[in-house]
Amino acid sequence: MAEKVKLLKDCRVFDFSNEMGFFCGKILGDLGADVIKVEKPGGDPSRNLGSFYKDIPDPEKNLYWFAYNHNKRGITLDIETETGQEIFKKLVKKADIIIETFQPGYLKKLGLDYKALSKIKPDIIVSSITPFGQTGPYKNYKGSDLVLTAMSGFMSVLGDSDKPPVRPTVPQSYVWIGMHAAEATLMAYYHRGMTGEGQHVDTSGQAGVTWAASIAPSFYDFNKEIPTRAGSFVTGRSVTGAIIRAVYPCKDGFVTYIIYGGPAGQRTNKRLTEWMASKGMAPDFLKNKDWSKFDIATVTQEEINRIEAANMAFFKTVTKDEFFKYVVEQDMLGYPVNTAKEIMEDEQLKSRGMWKEIEHEDLGEKITYPAFFTLFSTIACDLWRRAPRIGEHNEEVYQEIGLDKKEILRLKKANII
């Protein structure tokens, strides 16, 4: 088979983002773009976020940095100095895309906003990512994962009904926002290819997390109903208001099984009953049930509770692994509640080539990462390089934009890079 194409190899991106925007450049990097992460001299503050390689609190061993800045080269630059601003402009001349997450108005103050930059490079794409957007009443407000999970509506449908709303423990808002920003940035790049026209892209963090709440808005929009959190249960599947269990304890953890209607749901319910019967654990009312007539949209809570009580007793006798094997074999809907360990040991992901080791020379070790987000027939989507160390590519990148070695040394001494 012919080698796959590095689609964005001629696309140079300077990434001035903080942790809210890291994922955007990472995704463009997955598709082969030359993404150059720009940090303040001394390193980005985000290198102290999250956890560290073997718990050694060293900015060069930060896992958050590894996770979201691989497939990028790295340079340092202080854009608050005049010389730094001059260099910024030089970078722009050699850039296709600038990603930035500064507070709205900050770049304008430095004379480096889209308007100014488009005078230097008319077809530049500036992709701005902020908690609430570039304009509007909340534009100066600050964001955190918690704030954006709450303000996007996502949190209102998450958590136990008798406890406060909760966020996913592995923060989700910045990956949502980064993914949408990558979408928009790539759309702008495609548009530039078609028309020669660059533009400014304004991604809002708050708006970027809304799809995490799926179709919840339509309940309010259509019927003024307000969906709420329901813990381990799914809601809104029945016009009777019945809620349906989505997590069951099993022998060694939890499994997700949900009573559904439709052809796949009916098949699943029927086969579970058969499985339970084969172990002598199916009550008569289940054995006698005509699942082909089962309608999830009109089922009552009483009936659901009765079925779930029987399921509950049965699942306690099976392991996650037994459950997983059975549902796959029997073409049923359902999965184990996986931990990170089980994901990394999963046969399907292995067979697809999901895991790739990459050398971290300074750690003397290889680290395993997910290698791609999608398989294309001719485009390469891959893990190309580990995240950069602080200023690792200063010399090579600054030479590429036309600075000579002497000048680079002078800038280093002045702590501009």
Partner: protein
């Protein structure tokens, strides 16, 4: 008129529920012509079995889930099982630049509509297949819905509290992750076609895009051998960092404090300057250590406040705070209004409703939401006669024979 990004791009969707159709919606919001294919024999699953329905009355054209995923589109019906159905589908595929499908792997090929079949009628077609676990591998043929995938991808295990059952995320969460990546993949394929004239087959697995959002926990395991456990709203090195009760029924604010400066600002807003130098709370480490007591102090203050007021007061003073917006709040949110996020539309059966705009705004190529989600088969005539070019007699015959059904 300004040129839209996907002007001239034609999409045929053999797709249902969220994962496939929303890719088409997002592209149609930016100018693509997207045709949603279903049939009366097999309507989109969101039209039935999936509330809400307008006024809680089920009906094939009354689904909120369907309308929120399909604005700006044309809706047609082809019975792929009828004689001549596949031929008609091929005519639509010949017309299209991109085909989006999200059947179980192998289904399209069995119908005679696999990638190779498509290439015969349209050599540079882009086929985006979005499925559960991928087109290849030991679990390729296993069907699944978004909520199940939330568990397979680890989200369920890592949401909630350790002393309680894990919480399931709302709706088909992973489908929506697949939508964002689906648009990225489609644009990448278009860009490749722009450069080379070549089409593409895209094999997008929900499971694989889902774990992209888990990468932090995956590295924690691959590097440190640690399984990340669910931990409520707690944060490794920020405190307070939680949801706090406010005035009214089920009203909540969120406050996240990452450093001493923000802590001082919070105490000042609370009228509790005494807490700033309280040895239990004076440093991040101390606050983490006494987090339960800290949460009580903060909650005592927020309980007497209106959630929206906590948000604005704290934000005006530099503290990263917000409130838990319900779906009602989302429709009233002044910032989203400012961004024209909820786009008003009128639907023949539903009446007035709103479509959801994109989370990004382009300075030169604004989005345009101007068509309600189609009623089933609403655009058969315009699509098959005008877009595909069927003569009137043939169209009438196909309707009579139940191919256009």
């Amino acid at each position: 008129m300004k040129r839209q990004i996907f002007e001239g791009i034609k999409i045929a969707e053999f797709a249902a529920i969220a994962a496939g159709p929303l890719i088409g919606k997002h592209m149609a919001d930016h100018g693509a012509i997207s045709v949603h294919v279903e049939s009366h024999e097999r309507p989109d699953g969101f039209r039935q079995n999936y509330p809400p329905y307008k006024d809680n009355k089920p009906g094939i054209n009354r689904s909120g889930a369907f309308t929120i995923c399909n604005n700006n589109k044309y809706g047609v019906t082809i019975n792929l099982k009828a004689k001549g159905g596949v031929d008609l589908a091929k005519k639509l595929i010949a017309w299209a630049d991109i085909v989006i499908e999200n059947f179980t792997p192998g289904t399209m090929a069995k119908l005679g509509l696999g990638y190779e079949d498509m290439k015969k009628v349209n050599p540079d077609i882009i086929l985006l297949s979005s499925c559960n676990q991928g087109q290849t591998g030991p679990h390729a043929f296993h069907p699944g819905f978004g909520s199940h995938l939330s568990s397979l991808c680890g989200f369920t295990y890592m949401t909630g509290y350790q002393d309680r059952m894990p919480c399931i995320l709302y709706g088909p969460y992973v489908d929506h992750v697949g939508v964002g990546y689906g648009v990225i993949a489609a644009v990448a394929a278009l860009e490749h076609r722009r450069k080379t004239g070549e089409g593409q087959f895209v094999d997008l697995a929900q499971y694989e895009v889902g774990i992209q959002f888990m990468i932090g926990a995956l590295l924690e395991y691959s590097v440190n051998g640690r399984v990340t456990e669910r931990d409520g709203n707690r944060h490794g090195f920020a405190a307070p960092h939680n949801t706090y009760p406010c005035k009214g029924q089920d009203r909540w604010c969120v406050i996240s404090v990452f450093n001493d400066e923000e802590w001082k600002a919070l105490c000042t807003c609370m009228g509790r300057k005494d807490l700033i130098s309280d040895p239990r709370f004076s440093t991040v480490l101390a606050r983490k250590q006494h987090e339960d007591e800290l949460d009580k102090e903060v909650a005592a203050w927020t309980s007497g406040m209106v959630a929206e007021e906590v948000f604005t007061l704290l934000q005006e003073n530099g503290v990263k705070a917000g409130f838990v917006e319900t779906m009602e709040d989302m429709f009233k949110d002044p910032q989203l209004k400012h961004r024209k996020f909820w786009a008003p539309l009128t639907h023949p059966e539903v009446g007035k409703y709103h479509a959801e705009g994109p989370p990004f705004a382009f300075s030169k190529t604004p989005f345009k939401i101007d068509r309600h989600a189609p009623m089933i088969g609403e655009h058969n005539e315009v699509v098959f006669k005008k877009f595909v070019g069927l003569p009137n007699e043939e169209y009438d015959r196909l309707v009579k024979e139940g191919v256009i059904s």
